[in-house]
C-alpha cells in the first residue's frame, strides 16, 4: 500500500506549475515544425507555382489558403480535446462540414456559371490525378510532428485522435501544396483538395492506434525529465 510513497515524494519534489494552454502550445509546436519540413520539401522538390507573384494578387490563391487553413484549424481544435484522457470531439469535428460546404457552394456557383464545354476543365484541371496524393505526401511531416506532440499528452481514443491529427496534417499539407499548385478553379479545389485532406484524415485514423500509443515505463532510480 505504501510502496509508492517514495515515488510520490519524488514526483511532488519535481512539481513545476503547469502553463495554461500547454496542450494547445505543444500541438501547435508539433504542427509547425512539421509544416516547416513540409514547406521545405515542397519548395525544393516541386517548386513554387510559376505564376506565384501574379497569383497572390488574385482571390483564388487566398481562398485556397483560407480553405485549407480552416480544415487544419478544425483538426487542431479537435486534437486539443482528443489529446486528453476521455476527450471527445464529435461536435468539434463536425465543424469541418462548414468550410467544406462553403467551398462546395462556391464550386457549384462556378459550375453553373460556366458553359458546358468548360465544366470538365473546371473540375479536372490539369493535375487532378496527382493532387490528392501530393497533398497526402505533404501532410506526412505534419502528421509526424503532431504524433510526437500527442504522444506526449494523454490521448485515450487513439482512432479519433489520429483522425483529428490527420485532418490537421492534411489541411496544413494542402496549405503548403497550394503554394505550388497553380489550379485556380473552385470546383477543382472543392473536389480534389477536400479529397486529399480527408484521405489524410482517414490515414491518420487508421494509423492512430499505432502512432499515438504512449507509455510511462516505471523508473524509480533515474530522475526523469518532466516534459512541459
Amino acid at each position: 500500500m505504501t510502496g509508492n510513497d517514495g515515488l510520490i515524494d519524488r514526483l511532488a519534489l519535481e512539481l513545476v506549475p503547469v502553463r495554461p494552454g500547454a496542450v494547445a502550445g505543444r500541438l501547435a509546436l508539433g504542427a509547425l515544425v512539421g509544416a516547416v519540413v513540409s514547406l521545405t520539401a515542397v519548395t525544393a522538390l516541386l517548386g513554387l507555382r510559376p505564376d506565384f507573384l501574379r497569383a497572390v494578387l488574385g482571390p483564388m490563391f487566398w481562398i485556397k489558403l483560407g480553405y485549407t487553413a480552416a480544415l487544419a484549424g478544425v483538426g487542431l481544435w479537435a486534437a486539443d480535446r482528443l489529446a486528453r484522457p476521455t476527450g471527445r470531439a464529435a461536435r468539434r469535428l463536425r465543424l469541418v462540414a462548414v468550410p467544406i460546404a462553403a467551398m462546395a457552394i462556391l464550386a457549384a456557383a462556378r459550375l453553373m456559371d460556366a458553359p458546358n464545354v468548360e465544366r470538365r476543365v473546371l473540375v479536372m484541371g490539369a493535375s487532378a490525378r496527382a493532387c490528392p496524393w501530393l497533398i497526402l505526401a505533404s501532410a506526412v511531416p505534419v502528421y509526424i510532428g503532431l504524433c510526437w506532440a500527442i504522444r506526449g499528452l494523454a490521448p485515450t481514443r487513439l482512432r479519433a485522435a489520429g483522425f483529428a491529427a490527420g485532418l490537421c496534417a492534411g489541411g496544413t499539407g494542402a496549405f503548403v501544396y497550394a503554394l505550388h499548385c497553380p489550379e485556380a478553379a473552385a470546383p477543382f479545389i472543392a473536389l480534389w483538395y477536400t479529397l486529399g485532406v480527408l484521405l489524410a484524415g482517414a490515414a491518420g485514423a487508421l494509423a492512430g492506434p499505432v502512432t499515438l500509443r504512449w507509455t510511462d515505463p516505471p523508473q524509480r532510480m533515474k530522475p526523469p525529465s518532466a516534459h512541459g
Binding site: M1, G3, N4, D5, L7, I8, D9, L11, A12, L13, L15, V16, P17, V18, R19, A22, V23, R26, A83, R84, P85, T86, G152, L153, A154, T156, R157, L158, R159, A160, P209, V210, R213, T215, D216, P217, P218, Q219, P224, A226, H227, G228
Partner: protein, 168 residues
C-alpha cells in the same frame, strides 16, 4: 488538484496519496486474482498523471481525467498480455465494462459532497438531478412552493459544485 497544477507541492502530495489509495483497488478488482501487476500499474498511472498533468482540463472532473488514464493503462496492460500490440483500443468491447466504475466513483464523490449540505437541500437535489423528478414534484414532496424549490436547488447546486472544487 488545481492548487497542485499551480505548483503547490504539499497539496499535490495529498492528491497523489489519495489517488494511490483509490487506484490500487481499481486495478486489483480488474486484474486476475493473485496478479502481482496492480502495484506496477498504480505506479505507472501515478507517473502518467504526473508527467501528463497538463492534459487535465480544469473545467472537467478530476475523477474522469484520472479514470481515463487508469483505464488506458489497464487496457494497455491487457494488450501487452495478449501480445496484440496493434488491436485497436476502440474495438475492444470486452474491455469496455470497467467504464461503470467511473460512474460509481463519481457518484461517490457527489454523495460525499452532498452529505455536507442541509438535509432538505440534499433531498431536493437527489429528487431533481438524480431521480429526474420535475421541479413541481420535488417541491410537493418537500412541502414547499415550486419557486422556493428552484431557488433552494440552485443554491444547493452552487454550494455542491463549490465543495467539489474545494475538495480537490
Amino acid at each position: 488538484m488545481i492548487a497542485s497544477l499551480g505548483g503547490d507541492a504539499s497539496a499535490y502530495r495529498l492528491v497523489l496519496t489519495d489517488l494511490q489509495r483509490r487506484l490500487r483497488p481499481y486495478f486489483l478488482r480488474r486484474l486476475a486474482p493473485g496478479s502481482a501487476e496492480a502495484d506496477d500499474l498504480v505506479q505507472e498511472t501515478l507517473i502518467a498523471i504526473h508527467r501528463r498533468r497538463d492534459t487535465y482540463d480544469i473545467s472537467q472532473p478530476v475523477t474522469a481525467w484520472v479514470h481515463g488514464i487508469a483505464r488506458y493503462k489497464l487496457i494497455d496492460h491487457f494488450r501487452r498480455l495478449k501480445r496484440q500490440p496493434t488491436s485497436p483500443l476502440d474495438d475492444a468491447p470486452e474491455l469496455a465494462a470497467p467504464d461503470q466504475s467511473a460512474a460509481a466513483e463519481a457518484r461517490r464523490d457527489v454523495e460525499r459532497a452532498l452529505s455536507h449540505l442541509p438535509q432538505k437541500t440534499q433531498d431536493l437535489i437527489r429528487a431533481v438531478k438524480l431521480e429526474e423528478a420535475s421541479h413541481a414534484d420535488a417541491a410537493r414532496r418537500a412541502g414547499i412552493s415550486e419557486g422556493a424549490a428552484r431557488v433552494a436547488l440552485h443554491r444547493g447546486l452552487k454550494a455542491l459544485s463549490e465543495r467539489i472544487r474545494g475538495v480537490r
